[in-house]
């Protein structure tokens, strides 16, 4: 059913640390790999080795430059995938019931056997988290690796979303954001975790940790003149300078 659950006892989701992310795109590759080989239709590429390659991805890493009013500009690498919103607009617009939010853990999923590929859910998502697969003709989105996190055939250490498991920088965290004592909830509380586009009223479960304040220079560095003067230069260097100046 495309009605949203009134509340979910658990809110499984990601916490993404914008301070730590180095923009290596390993999460993008791990996500594409796992979700092409496992649950649902593979994430297709068209013209993969040609002039105009296009593919379906559930996770993409943007890079932004932030210029503060004072201080130096800095770069922020910005991974973006489904935020598993509590008021997910993509779910309620679905005409077939293929799009749904699980009552038990809040994961937003697509039943690919019921999806007619109308694309309205992708229009309803402000974050660009849903992509219609060009080959399969069904809507693809982050499943929070639902086929990993509860998968008892995997070693316990691997029961994490592929993007979290692979992140070499430790910038991605997975857990229950409904439990205030969970590691992810504490991270959000300590670091001031934020919602993306709160004005859209989607109440995302995934949170983003803002970059930590940078060190500020305590004094302006000694001025380096653009045209170094040799006036008053003594000794050997002074003699060379005066000699060369005669020519």
């Amino acid at each position: 059913m495309t009605a949203l659950p009134a509340s979910t006892p658990r809110k499984m989701g990601l916490v993404i640390d914008l301070d730590t992310c180095v923009g290596c795109h390993a999460c993008v590759t791990a996500c594409k790999g796992w979700n092409t080989e496992n649950y649902g239709a593979p994430l297709s590429d068209t013209d993969a080795y040609g002039a105009d390659p296009v593919g379906t991805f559930l996770n993409r890493v943007h890079s932004y430059e932030v210029t503060p009013a004072e201080g130096t500009p800095f770069t922020v690498h910005f991974p973006k995938s489904c935020l598993h919103c509590e008021d997910a607009p993509c779910v309620t617009v679905c005409p077939t019931g293929a799009s749904y939010k699980r009552a038990e853990d809040g994961i937003v999923l697509v039943n690919e056997d019921h999806c007619i590929g109308c694309g309205l859910c992708a229009w309803a998502c402000p974050y660009g988290a849903r992509e219609l697969d060009a080959v399969a003709g069904v809507m693809k989105k982050c499943t929070l690796c639902v086929d990993r996190i509860y998968n008892e055939t995997l070693p316990e250490v691997d029961r994490l979303p592929a993007c979290v498991r692979t992140c070499p920088a430790g910038a991605r965290h997975f857990g229950d954001l409904a439990d205030p004592g969970s590691a992810v909830s504490r991270l959000v509380a300590e670091r001031g975790g934020m919602d993306l586009m709160p004005e859209q009223g989607t109440r995302p479960v995934n949170k983003y940790l803002p970059p930590r304040p940078r060190d500020a220079l305590t004094a302006t560095p000694a001025a380096t003149p653009a045209d170094p003067s040799t006036e008053g230069l003594g000794g050997f260097l002074g003699w060379i300078d005066r000699t060369l100046a005669r020519f």
Partner: protein, 291 residues
């Protein structure tokens, strides 16, 4: 938003068909016999052709019947259900007029109102999207409803009512354009709010996530030809409203004039509907530095 020809055709053609069915149902015109047959065929035909063309943009048209199930939450599902129910409820009225020269007024009125509600449901598919601020406004359902009613009046061959409605349509179009132009800014969504970094300073895209294009950019960041907006708006306004109105004023009871007015109106509406999509900006474009 990508102006898909199938959706432009669907909304325009089915809007006309449902408008005509509403006029036939409510009894604004009451043809009988062969005339009734031709008029109802036109109404049903346009509606069905419109609905069929909407199926062309589906990834899996063979599963389209599933779209009738989620009417409790989804405007798209409501549209499908309402369209089917409207056409079914109008059928006895049509049969009565065609074969027995007698209207079944109850079926007609309820069916006619259902036809208009179908148009409302179509408009709300777009109107309820907060992600497209230009659409997320009362001018969207107003524009769709007035368009359908005007089309219905024109196809019913009611010159004076048509002229009045064409004027209202012009007002609705211009309001949708003018008020729509400031909707994105009013939505409050910026690259700063999209990344959560706005409080730290001015945010600018440094590098996109991939070198090629993707589904999101193709579908939702359509920027081609937006610079021709002013001439296109004028063409739409002239063809859809002004010229048909002038034609009906010059020769209100001449069949060729009415036919020409209808043709111009349809061409104008297709241009306006193209603009409706091509001009609409989705907030996801912010992440890619495009609007």
């Amino acid at each position: 938003m990508h102006p898909a020809p199938s959706i432009i055709l669907f909304t325009t053609i089915s809007g006309l068909g449902l408008g005509l069915l509403a006029f036939l149902g409510i009894g604004m015109i009451e043809p009988t016999g062969l005339a009734a047959f031709l008029w109802f065929t036109l109404g049903y035909g346009l509606t069905l052709v419109g609905l069929a063309s909407s199926a062309f943009h589906l990834g899996h048209p063979e599963r389209a019947l599933r779209a009738f199930t989620q009417w409790r939450t989804s405007w798209l599902s409501r549209e499908a259900v309402l369209a089917a129910v409207a056409m079914l409820v109008l059928a006895p009225h049509a049969i009565g007029l065609i074969f027995f020269n007698r209207p079944l007024t109850g079926f007609g009125i309820i069916g006619g109102l259902l036809a208009l509600q179908t148009v409302l449901a179509t408009s709300m598919i777009y109107g309820q999207l907060r992600t497209v601020p230009r659409w997320n406004h009362w001018t969207t359902p107003t524009l769709f409803l007035i368009s359908a009613i005007t089309g219905g009046a024109l196809l019913s061959g009611l010159p004076f009512l048509s002229q009045m409605l064409l004027a209202w349509l012009a007002v609705a179009m211009v309001l949708h354009w003018i008020l729509g132009d400031s909707r994105f800014a009013a939505s409050g969504s910026t690259l700063g709010s999209a990344t959560g970094l706005g409080a730290r300073g001015a945010v600018r895209q440094l590098e996109p996530p991939h070198t090629g294009t993707n589904y999101l950019l193709r579908e939702m960041a359509y920027v081609v030809a937006r610079r021709h907006v002013v001439p296109l708006r004028l063409i739409a306004l002239l063809a859809a409203c002004v010229l048909p109105s002038v034609l009906l004023w010059i020769a209100p009871f001449s069949l060729p004039a009415i036919a020409a007015a209808i043709l111009l109106h349809i061409l104008g509406m297709l241009t306006a509907r193209w603009l409706f999509f091509a001009q609409a900006e989705h907030v996801v474009g912010l992440y890619y530095g495009v609007r």
